[in-house]
Symmetry: C2
Subunit: 157 residues, 2 copies
């Protein structure tokens, strides 16, 4: 009495009397979302000890690369709005990973800089990132990685 077992390969074409646009599988956006989801999931697994999200690591990294950067500078680089940036900065500051200071050149701006703890966290994060990237890049040849990055850059500029 064994059932057909209902194997479900997600990337399988659905048959059915097809209409309009075609299959959802031909939609680039669909694949970007799925790839992002898979990447995000693996990331949080890899970072479960560090308790850092992708966004948080990116912010730490960018602040380290650009001492005294202002929140709007960060926001521009990461394509976030000010409010979202605030929330992330607040979280990182609450954990003592970075500090806000006053800008000497512009009274509206604040400077962001990592604390020693932040630098330490970033160092650990970079190790984890390496592992994460290895998982990601294991699917591709070197040339393909370059190509993928280049293509993705065309989307986000």
């Amino acid at each position: 009495m064994t059932r057909p077992k209902e194997i479900l390969v997600p990337t399988t074409p659905h048959v059915e009397g097809d209409e309009d646009i075609g299959e959802i599988n031909n939609i680039v956006g669909f694949h970007i979302r799925l790839a992002h989801g898979a990447t995000y999931r693996h990331f949080t697994e890899t970072f479960s000890d560090l308790e850092l999200t992708q966004k948080q690591v990116s912010v730490l990294w960018l602040v380290d690369d650009h001492p005294d950067i202002a929140q709007t500078g960060l926001a521009k680089r990461m394509r976030m709005d000010r409010a979202t940036t605030m929330a992330i900065i607040n979280r990182l500051q609450k954990r003592g990973f970075l500090v806000r200071g006053k800008s000497k050149t512009d009274g509206r701006k604040q400077t962001l800089n990592l604390t020693d703890e932040g630098r330490q966290a970033l160092a650990s994060a970079k190790v984890a990132i390496q592992e994460h990237e290895k998982w990601l890049q294991s699917r591709f040849k070197k040339k393909e990685v370059e190509m993928l990055i280049e293509m993705l850059s065309r989307i986000h500029e």
Copy 2:
């Protein structure tokens, strides 16, 4: 005394005469996230009238493609857990786009099917998707689109 003016449209390449971001630019995950963000943003713009998210459209689409699908079936296809799936289904049901029914083959399962309204919403969504995809694919040649989809599939399986 006119400054370079520093226009910053979110989806515009950031020029700024400065430093490159550093090695973070070689991180595939970083680009996936940025590309996802840009895509998501354009999607919500395109869909602001319809008030549908990527997830919701995907669910409508998949339910349409697979009548009587159960929530777990959806969850597998979209790589979501049951709780998240529930939340999305609830939202769509509340708006009258789909209905839950009882499965005849498995008392635990429920069937999902679009209502006429749901089908209508999906039809509108597909038009908008076409526009959205055009925006996305305009950056690529046909061959490149295939390549991109294939590469992204390697990530999400």
